[in-house]
């Protein structure tokens, strides 16, 4: 199989030089993930039939963390999948799209399963919409739920999360930046002013 593309570091242009305010620290994130893990099991009465599906990019490590949390108190394996929903986006022709896509990889059939989509930030709802379509193309799950670390509001579609780590009311002129050790070498959530768009 193809080995993967060596990517040139973190390419997000997220104004590291701008004034930023840390909203969640490493410890906050850890506590929040622990809480959501319990909520997922509680809501679904058991951990059976659950597949945690991480939405690329930062949903993937979050899903993995949730799974290992649940595994630690439920003593059973929780399958984790990766969902690349780039092909379902509604903005393919616009700026900075398409993204480099990777394989979607879900370890078993989604039929009859409880799919918990995991993402870092819920904002307009468009990514979640794309992810829903992507999952439904894979089969007929029993239900689909959505877990996010941060809900920052400004929805453009009728979508809500089932599990929310933290509600962060924000302005559209700000960006919420989630950094995770797996992808960014540090765990934190920060709020920063939006950088000017590149020419």
């Amino acid at each position: 199989m193809y080995a993967g593309l060596p990517l040139a570091g973190n390419v997000t242009v997220r104004g590291f030089f701008m004034a930023k305010k840390v909203i969640m620290t490493e410890a906050d994130i850890k506590r929040t993930i622990a809480r959501i893990s319990h909520e997922i099991v509680e809501r679904n009465k058991s951990s059976e039939n659950i597949i945690l599906v991480g939405m690329r990019t930062r949903g993937v490590p979050l899903a993995k963390r949730l799974a290992s949390n649940i595994e630690s108190f439920e003593e059973m394996r929780i399958p984790v999948g990766i969902l690349d929903f780039s092909l379902y986006r509604d903005d393919i022709s616009s700026r900075d799209i398409p993204l480099v896509i990777k394989s979607t990889n879900i370890p078993s059939s989604v039929d009859g399963k409880v799919i918990v989509l995991v993402d870092d930030v819920l904002y307009t709802g468009r990514s979640a919409r794309a992810a829903l379509d992507a999952i439904i193309d894979l089969g007929r799950p029993l239900s689909i739920q959505l877990a996010v670390l941060v809900d920052r509001g400004h929805r453009e579609l009728p979508i809500r999360a089932d599990y929310v780590g933290k509600n962060i009311p924000s302005s559209k002129d700000e960006e919420i930046e989630v950094r995770l050790t797996e992808t960014d070498e540090i765990d934190e959530v920060a709020i920063i002013p939006k950088p000017g768009r590149e020419g």
Binding site: M1, S86, P98, V100, K102, N105
Partner: protein, 335 residues
């Protein structure tokens, strides 16, 4: 031979998603001579993602909804056309097919006229198969749509070479230092030409082999116009230690033009046989762009044997073409 099934082994390691444009600079796909190794890598990676879609019960994603793909074929080729058509449909593009019979060519409708009509009909991507080398290059200079070369004359067949590479990568870890031998009518083969570009760019050791009448000219000193490859007329030398052996379709009319003495003698001297493959490396795979003249280029036992990956090439063709549509579909180069 079964492809090693690696899809199930989930690697949760992930890099940040980044815009394709950071790597991809192509508005058109005319040949692979101007591709960078990173671009070829990107196509391979995107193809893998598309390949996963093809394994689903619903093989359709909405990515190119509202985009129009037109195939414009001046040479009949049901296989290639269907492959492009399926790829476009899997991505939810609108597709229309135009086969231009030689009669309307003689009527004086020029390629440019036809392309302008296509564009007026709203084509975003035009797939061209043409009997004349360079026709897609000409097209790319006169229309706003993206052009994909689906094979032009003796010049290039980039999508075939990319699917060949994807197929090779299913069996071999890397192209670098791989010994690839291409056997047959090299001079008239756009498949061979494009494969020579892509394989050498990725570091393969390429050998071309065939009767001297069918070998390209100027290969003793090809740089900087063409990659340096090993050239031999001896099939046993060519196959020795090869990791990949690729046959090419022989146009049977080569005999009439005096390039071959007979098909029989060609088969005797240049057929890829089980016996000849004994000298190849362990794990050698046998490829052919199809359709195969069985027992001419390749012994039928080899074509249907366990070293052959010929049928897989067809499936991979759809995935590669989906990947290319995706990469061409969006972004700043279309503005």
């Amino acid at each position: 031979m079964e492809a090693v099934e690696q899809i199930k082994a989930i690697d949760l390691k992930d890099e940040n998603a980044q815009p394709v444009q950071k790597i991809w600079k192509h508005k058109h796909i005319l040949d692979l001579d101007d591709f960078t190794p990173s671009e070829i890598d990107l196509v391979m990676q995107t193809t893998a993602a598309m390949h996963e879609i093809l394994s689903r019960p619903i093989k359709k994603v909405p990515t190119l909804r509202g985009k129009t793909v037109v195939t414009l074929f001046y040479e009949a080729s049901t296989r290639t056309r269907s492959s492009f058509e399926l790829a476009a449909k899997n991505l939810s593009a609108d597709i229309s097919n135009l086969t231009v019979s030689s009669s309307s060519v003689t009527k004086g409708e020029s390629l440019i006229d036809t392309l302008e009509t296509m564009e007026a009909l709203g084509a975003d991507i035009i797939v061209i198969r043409h009997l004349n080398s360079g026709a897609p290059n000409l097209a790319s200079k006169h229309v706003k749509a993206s052009i994909i070369n689906a094979g032009d004359g003796w010049h290039a067949h980039p999508t075939q070479a990319l699917l060949d590479m994807y197929t090779i990568l299913k069996y071999k870890k890397s192209i670098k230092n791989l010994k690839v031998t291409i056997i047959g009518d090299i001079i008239h083969s756009r498949v061979a030409h494009s494969n020579i570009w892509s394989l050498t760019k990725m570091g393969a050791d390429v050998t071309i082999c065939g009767p001297s009448t069918l070998l390209p000219k100027g290969m003793d000193n090809p740089l900087p116009y063409f990659p340096k490859v090993r050239v031999t007329t001896n099939i046993n030398d060519a196959i020795k230690d090869a990791d990949v052996v690729m046959g090419l379709r022989l146009q049977l009319e080569r005999q009439q033009s005096g390039l071959l003495s007979s098909i029989r003698e060609y088969a005797r001297l240049y057929q890829i046989t089980e016996e000849r493959l004994l000298k190849a490396n362990k794990g050698v795979i046998v490829m052919h762009p199809g359709p195969v003249n069985e027992d001419v280029e390749i012994a039928s036992t080899v074509a249907h044997g366990d070293k052959s990956v010929i049928n897989e090439q067809v499936t991979n063709g759809v995935a590669v073409r989906m990947a290319l549509f995706y990469l061409l579909a969006g972004g700043s180069h279309n503005e």
